[in-house]
Structures are given as structure tokens and as C-alpha cells.
């Protein structure tokens, strides 16, 4: 008689999701923002993205070959890291810079720890932190000569400073107003006013900044798509953006407490990119719902501390890296109760 029963171990119910499928879908969801940045910053942005992705994939393949591990570049994770890293640099950087950053991100940020799933920190952000520590001048220059022939958009964002930088300098002046001449203080007031009036531009992304972070709108759309696909949970974006909004409202203003402009703080800088794409990385975020809420809260807190009192105008990347390192602690202290385990164990 034919064998009609097959005995196998669990899991018995599987679905079609797999690592490559998730990675390529996330990459696809970033394409609108990528396309927009090419429109905004010119072809150089595209070159940087392609170089960075190619360098990440090549490094991953090379390191895995050298370490005699199975070569898994086709899973798309290195490609995604490359794209995210290039989103985190200015379109003005020299072309070797994203390549060096990619090599560091993959080799030291990921493969040294054992590859995908073992890295304690987000490799793309680690690459950015490495670049920022090594070449701070390249990494913080967002203005430069406009590309030859101009950009497709015709909007001149390349020669203007990033909104957060303008705000930081203005706040510096306003905080010590008596120490500055009157016209300087008035200028600072005016600059803040202009920033707050241009929320629509900031939301759409017609501003200076890193390649992929400018358009809050497109990043939110991509993030909502990932939420719909359930590749990311709602907890981190909500608690991250929520805590940034709250802190910006209380402390972010220039006219005392509770005068901050919430929309300005959540739409400028890299917050949308960080909250939807970086902080939610499956490998480097907590596994429980409550843990994720705490994680997002911590990210928001550190981001606003850096933005308001720190040395850098923007703190998204460092806040996520720091919270990445706390994930094991969060996971250990927030353990879900075991079913039937009693009230207190």
C-alpha cells in the first residue's frame, strides 16, 4: 500500500514570505524616494546610489568567499544596505566615499558578527557613522556648485543649507540673544520664521540634505506600504515620531516652552527615513510590541537631545545606533508572560 501519511516536524504552516522577497520589496518601496532625489540633486545622486549598492554586494560576496561561508548576496540584504547608506550621504561627496563606507558597513558592521541576522547595529547607519567620524568635512557639506547643466527639477537646493542647520544656528543666537548685536538676533528670528513658513517645501522635499532623506512625503508613502505588507510594525514609527513631536513641541521652540513647531521637526532631517526604514530593521529592533515602543521612545529622546543641545544639527542616525545596542537589554527585561506561567514567576 502507498504511504499516505507524511510525518514532518513543525512548522506546518508556512507562507510565501522569504528574506529575498522582503529585502527586494523594501528596496522597491524606496524607489520613489530614490527617483525623486535624482530629480532633485541630479545624476550624481544616481551614481552614488549605484556605486554604493555595487560596493556593498561586492564586499559581501568577497568577505563570504574569504571566510568560506555560503555566498548569500542574492538575498538582497546587501543591496538594501547599499541603497540606505547612499540615502545617508550628501550628493556632494566625492565618489570614493560611499564605496569606502559600504565596505566598512558590510565587512565590519555585518559580516564580522556572522552575517545577516547577527549584526547588533544597522550596517548602513554604522557605515554612515564611520564616514562621519572619518571625513566630517565631506559628510556635512550639503552645498556646492550646482551640477553642470542643472538638475531636472530646476530647484536650487544644492546651494542652500539644510533646514536643521539653519535652525541650529538661529537657536544658538537666540539662546544668547544679549551677547549678539540686534540685527543678528533679528536675522535669526527671520530665519526661524522662514523655516516655519516653508513646511510645505520641507514636507515635499524641496530642501537640501542627504540624498534620500529630503522627501518626507515619499518616505511616508513607502513606510505605509511596508506597514500594509506587515514588514514593519506600527510601534517604532509611532513612538519614535510621537516622542520627537512631543519633545519638539515642549522644548523645540525659540520662545520658551511649548512653542516648538512640531511639523518642522518631524518632517525635516532624516526622521522619516530613520523611523520607517532604519529603526524598524528586523534584525536590530526588539521583538516584542512593548519593547518596540520603548525602543522608539529612546530613539526620539536621543534624537531631540542631539538636535536641541548636541553638537550636530541632526541626531537620527546616532540615536538609532545607540538604541540598537540596547535592544538585548530591552528584550531581556520585557519578556512576554508565558501562557499558564502564573501571575508572577
Amino acid at each position: 500500500m502507498e504511504r499516505s501519511f507524511y510525518v514532518s516536524s513543525s512548522p506546518h504552516i508556512t507562507d510565501r514570505e522569504s528574506i529575498p522577497r522582503i529585502m527586494y520589496t523594501v528596496t522597491l518601496s524606496l524607489l520613489p524616494a530614490a527617483g525623486y532625489s535624482v530629480w532633485l540633486f541630479g545624476l550624481r545622486a544616481l551614481v552614488i546610489m549605484l556605486l554604493s549598492m555595487a560596493a556593498c554586494v561586492a564586499t559581501e560576496a568577497l568577505v563570504q568567499k574569504l571566510m568560506k561561508r555560503p555566498v548569500t548576496v542574492s538575498d538582497g540584504s546587501a543591496l538594501l544596505t547599499g541603497l540606505l547608506l547612499s540615502f545617508n550621504v550628501s550628493a556632494q561627496v566625492p565618489l570614493w566615499l560611499p564605496v569606502v563606507g559600504s565596505v566598512f558597513a558590510i565587512a565590519v558592521g555585518k559580516q564580522v558578527f556572522g552575517g545577516l541576522g547577527y549584526n547588533p547595529m544597522n550596517p548602513a547607519l554604522l557605515g554612515r557613522a564611520f564616514l562621519l567620524a572619518s571625513w566630517p568635512t565631506h559628510m556635512t557639506v550639503f552645498s556646492g556648485a550646482p551640477p553642470a547643466g542643472g538638475t531636472v527639477s530646476g530647484i536650487d537646493v544644492i546651494t542652500s543649507a539644510t533646514p536643521l542647520n539653519v535652525l541650529k544656528q538661529a537657536r544658538e543666537v537666540l539662546a544668547n540673544a544679549p551677547a549678539y548685536p540686534v540685527e543678528k538676533v533679528n536675522q535669526a528670528h527671520e530665519a526661524v520664521g522662514q523655516l516655519y513658513d516653508s513646511i510645505d517645501k520641507i514636507f515635499l522635499g524641496q530642501i537640501g540634505g542627504c540624498i534620500g532623506e529630503t522627501s518626507a512625503l515619499l518616505l511616508i508613502l513607502g513606510g505605509l506600504f511596508l506597514l500594509y505588507k506587515r514588514y514593519i510594525g506600527w510601534e517604532i514609527p509611532v513612538s519614535y515620531i510621537g516622542s520627537v513631536a512631543l519633545l519638539a513641541w515642549i522644548f523645540g521652540g525659540t520662545e520658551g516652552a511649548f512653542s516648538g513647531n512640531i511639523l518642522f521637526h518631524i518632517f525635516s532631517g532624516g526622521l522619516m527615513l530613520g523611523a520607517f526604514y532604519m529603526a524598524t530593521d528586523m534584525v536590530t529592533s526588539p521583538i516584542t510590541s512593548r519593547g518596540r515602543l520603548i525602543f522608539g521612545l529612546g530613539c526620539g529622546l536621543i534624537t531631540m537631545v542631539i538636535r536641541l543641545v548636541g553638537g550636530y544639527p541632526e541626531g537620527v542616525s546616532y540615536s538609532i545606533l545607540l538604541m540598537n545596542l540596547l535592544v538585548p537589554v530591552i528584550d531581556r527585561s520585557i519578556r512576554p508572560k508565558v501562557f499558564g506561567g502564573g501571575a508572577k514567576s
Binding site: 569606502v100 565590519v108 564580522v112 564611520f130 567620524a133 572619518s134 571625513w135 566630517p136
Partner: protein, 199 residues
């Protein structure tokens, strides 16, 4: 043969930094340039040799229960000597090493050798052990600081190695670069030993 084995043991086989992972704090802190590394290594070697010899001399008089405070007093004496001597003769280097010269007192290589070797062995053997361990520490510092200075600053002993077009990877001159460098060196040493063991 035994004459050399006490010395050579410290240089590679039992290297304090690369094998025993001792004294990592000064190693991380001062290895940003080769001259700092060598200066720190030699200063620690002086203290190590002197304290090893003196502790080996008094090892039979030292009551077991309070040996650690006594060792520390001996070590602190020699650290004070080298501290004042460096301040007087090499003020530039002294300024760059800063707090890490007085901190040789708590360098665990020195206390470790006092505890593990000098307290149990003859004066002559302890002298050789001090030299070997001191040179081993200096060697480790030299390797780490060479890598960090060349990549992080583009120089070796202050001499520029590359043309003006080279933009040094400042990361390696900063603290995180120290951790990454030492991590890779330790991994390399371990890999070498595994390979030797496999043969």
C-alpha cells in the same frame, strides 16, 4: 635556552596584550601614534622590570594577606620615578600621554606579573620576565599604533607617507578605531594559532 625562554615568552607566546588581553585600556588610549605607543611601552617596561625585581626580592617577607597593597606601593614608587623623569626629560611626549603615565600604577600587566610571576620566582627570572613582558607590550603597541597612525593620519612617526591627495581615515585615529583595530589584530593572532594547531 632557558635564559631566553623567560624573555621570548612575553614577546609573542604569552604576549600580555595579544594573548592575555591585559593592559587593554592604555593600549586603546595611547596607540593613536607610533611615538606615543613606543613611549608608553618603554615607560611601562621600566616600571615592570623594576617592580618585578623588587617584588621578587621581598617575596618571602610579604605577608600573603596584604600582598596586593604592598605590590601596589612598590609599583607606585617606580611609576612616580618614571612620571617625574618623563616630565623632566621628554616633556612633549609626557604631555601627549597625559594621565596615562600615572595610570601605569593600575596597569594590570604589571600587577598581573607581580602576582603571577615575581611573587613566586627568583630575582633573576623575574628580571627576565619583566623585560620579556615589557617588550611584548611595546611590540603590541607598536603594531597597533603603526596601523592606526598610517591609516588614521597618513604618517609614520610623524613622517607623511602619502601625497597630499590622501585623505586619512580619521576614524582610525579616534577611539572607535582603536577598538576595531585591536579586535582585528586579536582575531588575526587567534586565527594564526588555530592554523598552527591544525597542522
Amino acid at each position: 635556552m632557558a635564559f631566553f625562554s623567560d624573555i621570548t615568552r612575553g614577546i609573542y607566546e604569552d604576549n600580555p596584550v595579544l594573548k592575555q588581553a591585559l593592559g587593554l585600556c592604555p593600549t586603546l588610549a595611547v596607540s593613536s601614534s607610533v611615538s606615543n605607543g613606543i613611549g608608553m611601552g618603554l615607560a611601562a617596561t621600566f616600571v615592570l622590570v623594576c617592580s618585578n625585581v623588587l617584588i621578587a626580592m621581598i617575596r618571602k617577607m610579604v605577608p600573603d594577606k596584604i600582598r596586593i597593597p604592598i605590590y601596589i606601593v612598590v609599583i607606585a614608587t617606580f611609576v612616580t620615578i618614571i612620571d617625574l623623569a618623563m616630565a623632566g626629560f621628554v616633556p612633549d611626549l609626557y604631555k601627549r600621554l597625559g594621565i596615562f603615565v600615572p595610570l601605569i600604577v593600575v596597569n594590570c600587566i604589571i600587577l598581573g606579573r607581580a602576582e603571577a610571576f615575581a611573587g613566586k620566582n627568583t630575582v633573576w627570572a623575574s628580571f627576565k620576565d619583566g623585560i620579556g613582558m615589557g617588550l611584548g607590550f611595546t611590540f603590541a603597541l607598536l603594531v597597533i599604533s603603526t596601523i592606526r597612525e598610517i591609516i588614521g593620519n597618513g604618517t609614520f612617526l610623524g613622517i607623511p607617507l602619502f601625497g597630499a591627495g590622501f585623505e586619512p581615515v580619521m576614524f582610525f585615529a579616534l577611539a572607535p578605531g582603536a577598538f576595531v583595530t585591536i579586535g582585528f589584530i586579536l582575531a588575526f593572532v587567534t586565527w594564526l594559532d588555530h592554523r598552527k594547531g591544525a597542522k
